[in-house]
């Protein structure tokens, strides 16, 4: 069946096709509970992603209190973008909404690492499972650290039920 709305689960809204492919790699990780994650169709830009989230998902997050929501956006070199997005998220659901992304754009990360998007996504998933930081510490991803810790605390229990190293 699809994700169980009444059990803890995570919805992911990728901004674009590159982010979608990163998530594809993430969800093929053997340790991931794929029944607890649902990837939504790409939004087509970070501003559209935020707008769609505010228009269509906020109310449902209030209805389904086991739902978590991840906006996967490009930061395009703008280190203030997370705050800009976070400031628009209603306070009553803000602890279940997360914003992650590449500091510039995924294409730059792909070129720098010399790997395809899926392999990068799979590596990031493995590090989440093992609670490690190698790829996540990359200069284009390190800015996510505080948000990643917050996300891990919220989803790790059900997303990686067969846990790796303890945090």
């Amino acid at each position: 069946m699809s994700v169980n709305k009444f059990e803890p689960h995570l919805l992911v809204l990728p901004e674009d096709d590159a982010n979608r492919q990163l998530v594809n790699g993430f969800i093929t990780s053997p340790n991931l509970n794929i029944r607890a994650i649902q990837v939504l169709p790409v939004a087509g830009g970070w501003e559209i992603a935020v707008r769609n989230f505010l228009n269509e998902e906020v109310q449902k997050l209030r209805t389904y209190n086991q739902r978590r929501f991840l906006l996967l956006i490009d930061f395009d070199g703008d280190s203030e973008r997370r705050n800009e997005v976070s400031n628009q998220i209603p306070e009553d659901i803000s602890e279940r909404v997360f914003v992650l992304g590449v500091l510039t754009e995924p294409e730059r990360l792909r070129v720098m690492l010399g790997m395809n998007y899926e392999k990068i996504g799979a590596s990031l998933a493995n590090e989440c499972y093992r609670n490690e930081r190698k790829f996540w510490a990359h200069e284009l991803l390190a800015h996510n650290e505080a948000e990643l810790v917050r996300l891990n605390e919220s989803v790790r229990r059900f997303l990686f039920p067969k846990r790796g190293a303890s945090p």
Partner: protein, 369 residues
Amino acid sequence: MIQRLYAHNYRCFENFELNLKSISSCLLIGKNGSGKSAVGDVLELFQKIGRGTNRVGELLTPTDFAWGNQTLPMRFELEALIEQRPFKYEIAFELPNGFRELRVFEEKLSVENTPIYTRDLAQVTVFRTNNNSEAKFLVDWHLVALPIISASSEKDPVQVFKSWLSMLTILSPIPNLISGDSTSETLHLTKDGANFSDWLEGLLGAFPAAYADLDNSLKQVLPDFKDFQRPSTGITSKKLVVQFVRERQSFRVDFEHLSSGEKCFFIWSAILAANKHLGGLFCFWDEADSHLSLSEIGHFISALRQSYQQEGQIILTTHSEEVVRKFSHENTFYLGRKSHLEPTIIRPLSEVYTGKNIVHDLLLDDIEL
């Protein structure tokens, strides 16, 4: 794992080559008639040879020549990594003037670039590397040699390759044909899935622990699924019965009365279990999303990809945008042809697609090869 598949002068294929090195799961997309299912037909040809069909007339007909071009041979090649050793099997057919049935023109099996046997029309030469000798014999040119070449042991490359070919699983299930009755055990699932119950018996007979994996997968997609049983209905026959339970009330239903999508869940869960317990099962699944509700497709495909990421190899075809989204550019192959008079072209999206929304561009048929 299949490394490379080649077909020439067969239906819509001319110098058609599918390279799958290091690809554990991939998706074939393209318009109707682009040749996606024909890839499965090529694989089925090899599977049939592996399962012992050697009469050429049972494998191909003169109508299989591309655009009726009977002046050139029809050629197939399969390269695969089996037990860490590269195998290559080549076979070509021709239809001389006055013939009604195709005949074998050339045939060759090699391992690590060393020929195991070669064949030129009726003449077969088997090479014995241990004593540097060769044996020659004649074979009816309407028979494929591979099924009739005897192997000296289970580890003989001929036997290893035949066994591997026979286990290729080509699927295009027709749920209405899947009854739930079994009369024997097999590890060879038919393309239409009609012998699913026999295959399930074979799988559980060989790997009893696979039941737990089936049970686990089915409970994810059918929350009220309790178990399935296979009571005897005769001396050698059994019937597949599925039990559902909710709030202490249970309900048993014959497998044949399940919906088409529910039958596909059983096939899916059995493929996942077979892949795990066989240590890797090759599977080609044509339009795997058929019969599934939209909310199921994503997890159905992701579970397959997750399983095959660890072992085995799977090729899927689809027209579903949800399936397209579950693959990425390096493992999605686009097939197309300009008209029915031109051959299929195949390219990975990573080589031909630079757009930003693949689903959108597929919808508008905006992908150029």
